[in-house]
Symmetry: D2
Subunit: 250 residues, 4 copies
């Protein structure tokens, strides 16, 4: 039973059964991990029900975010053990005149709102999965971490062939990341329990869409197994990994 | 009542009601129209139920495609009357070794299939809305017509500030087009009756997602009214429009 | 007499005389100014002969940089008077492991060098032309300020049709900027006295190449006249210009 | 003695001697070859002096083009023997209204000219080095074959880490290719005898600039040796190379 089964119509199930979609794409030998926008703006500063959380953090995904974080820790633990490059994306604090918000200004009535909680930056990656010195944080203005950033050049420099993507929101920045990664011909995995959204239908259907066409939706356990069987230390000559990064307690 | 209301959960309705989404973004003064992938591969060569159509055309959206076409004609009629630039996208016939398919090869069991019907090219735009000499057809390999194509440069050359997007699939190439157009800060409209998908849930939820964050989902009638009140002939010095394009019967 | 005349061969003069190059491209109605990499790394911290300056600042252009700065001030003065958007580009301080240097690491024997002078950041824009709050500073890793940055989206958001480019080096980041701006179909001007290089032949020939094919090389005086006759305040609804920016003494 | 030595000033030689430029960047293990714009528009249809050739073909590089072609044949011969992917770029025949010419329209007084010789397409790759079925021809509107084309996605799909670039013009499309390839962090070689320009100073100085900063300018012999020691058939599972492509007489 997939998370999307409850949302598909009967016709949908028949059509997608016969159109050849939903084949496993598979992965390559040189993976990287991309954690999209798991910051306080999208998680809230504490685990609380989404309807409470959005009062303070308008983009919050509430409890679902905090349920994903232990899974993200597991995924990152395996990546660190192998010294697989880890990319995070997050937003950029906006100018006071809002110039750099571009189209975002137009589509949200709370867009200029400055709420939050002192001590927690909206664009700060949640501390439970805080980036380490070897990680690369991509600051972005638009949904996709590929758009207007150096991400693609970093991936070509490292010869990455596979991206394991997770984070939030499934229907927003994760979706945009997956389309771009697929379009540049990377093998793409979406790690299901590590990925979340503020919308339940959007979460389910976007996973369905991406699994049908662009990426393999996999469980954390499968992602970890895959990472652990790749060659260790492929990028040691380019990235200075901390001596003991796999044992770091955060 | 919106097409997506049946697919949202109760929590979804509460969350999106309070998070400030779903504001109308509005349009500018220099629009263009983008018709995404309305070719025989995605429509089938005749109007028939989708489950029949996909036997021959694995990507077909069946009847829903053919119901959209008269609306697309109306939209294009208004654009032609104003001499607003019209862009179409469609696929490229693949090499026999499939090299240029890239990631598509991995994700569909019927990807190499050569079916179709003699006389109807899979990448041929449906004749009922055939491009005219002044239109620009963008051939592409990936979901977004911006990816790996000259589309963006054409839009900057013309000083376009608004894209009215329609076509198929809502959850695939239309979605990718909208994300890219939004990311480059164009005002974006999605013309609802002119847009279709093979999946019912995917159609509804992707419209919902895009309307919440990136674009205004509008009716054809509204799009036509908007186009008709823009200044006529803004691009006459750059594009040779046919003398009587608005009256062309196709 | 042009700066490049001394460097061309006789054959060059005949070929370019008959091949139709070197037509004036002209400008549009919505300009922006782009000042490329006029930071301490490329200027040195004081005006001194280039052969002295490069001992401390390996990328320095020496005296030629400091001769350009009063011209850049004039150019920026006119832009501020009209409230024309001003973009600066500069580098990003590298990670200690050099990962983000990418290809730069390979091509310079002094690439990892940390010299400079305390109190002057290599990537700090020279104070004589320091950015104001309304200006947009593009931080970049590669020659072109379009590459891996949000610059293009900002230009489309503002409906810019013309870029006046200056700074350094003519044969490096200015050249890369001009090619990209041309490729996106912007009208491009290069403001001659505001543009400099560490190489004399490279400066002359790159101006020649760009003037022949991609851009109009113009004098500062011409750029100022052009800016002053454009409409004032076109972007006041998007950018909060300081009340008295044209009178700021820096 | 380098081709650029005659064009540099004495100061240039001193500055570049001390600034750390001109280090050999080196190559990787997964090369591809890119032949830029070696078509009849840039070569003319026969070997004749450039001043004659430009009467018919306004972009022609004359005799220098035809002197390069036997070297390009050698380079391609080695690539074919190893089944290294070969990319060509060339232009696209323009619309009759010139819309797709964009900025090119503005900068050349002979831009709309339709001259040429019956039987020789301006955008046709010169027959002596005609593409084979396994080669990939990139059609482009702008100087760089990366701009508005699928080239980058093809390179990431194949895991290419090194581009050997040649063709024409050194100061135009080759230069733009090299900047983009460098910016995406590929190792870049420019094969000197396979590369040409209509301008003598531009050819020399652009090679100098690129060798100093972005690429290794190498002789054909060195490129061939490098190719022959790479692993054969790395891409046989993705590209259907002709059985005997290395022996093809063209």
């Amino acid at each position: 039973m997939k998370v999307w089964d409850n949302f598909l119509t009967d016709r949908d199930k028949l059509v997608f059964g016969s159109a050849g979609y939903d084949v496993k794409g598979g992965f390559g030998k040189r993976p990287a991990v991309l954690v999209v926008d798991v910051n306080y703006a999208f998680c809230g500063h504490i685990k609380e029900p989404i309807l409470d959380s959005v009062q303070t953090w308008r983009n919050s995904c509430g409890e679902d975010a905090w349920e994903a974080i232990p899974y993200i820790q597991k995924l990152l633990g395996a990546a660190r053990e192998q010294r697989v490059p880890i990319f995070y994306s997050t937003g950029i604090d906006r100018r006071s005149d809002g110039f750099d918000a571009g189209g975002w200004r137009r589509k949200n009535s709370r867009s200029g709102e400055k709420k939050g909680i002192p001590g927690f930056g909206g664009n700060e990656i949640v501390r439970e999965i805080a980036p380490q010195s070897s990680d690369i944080v991509i600051e972005k203005l638009k949904p996709s971490p590929f758009h207007g950033t150096p991400l693609l050049g970093f991936l070509t420099d490292l010869g990455i062939d596979t991206l394991l993507i997770c984070g939030t929101t499934t229907s927003g920045c994760v979706r945009a990341s997956v389309i771009d990664a697929f379009s540049y011909n990377f093998n793409v995995g979406i790690v299901e329990e590590c990925t979340f959204d503020r919308g339940q239908a959007s979460h389910a259907i976007n996973l369905f869409d991406m699994n049908a066409k662009y990426a393999d939706v996999i469980k954390t356990e499968e992602a970890v197994s895959y990472l652990l069987q790749t060659e260790q230390g492929l990028h040691d000559h380019k990235i200075a990994f901390p001596a003991d990064s796999s044992n770091v307690t955060v």
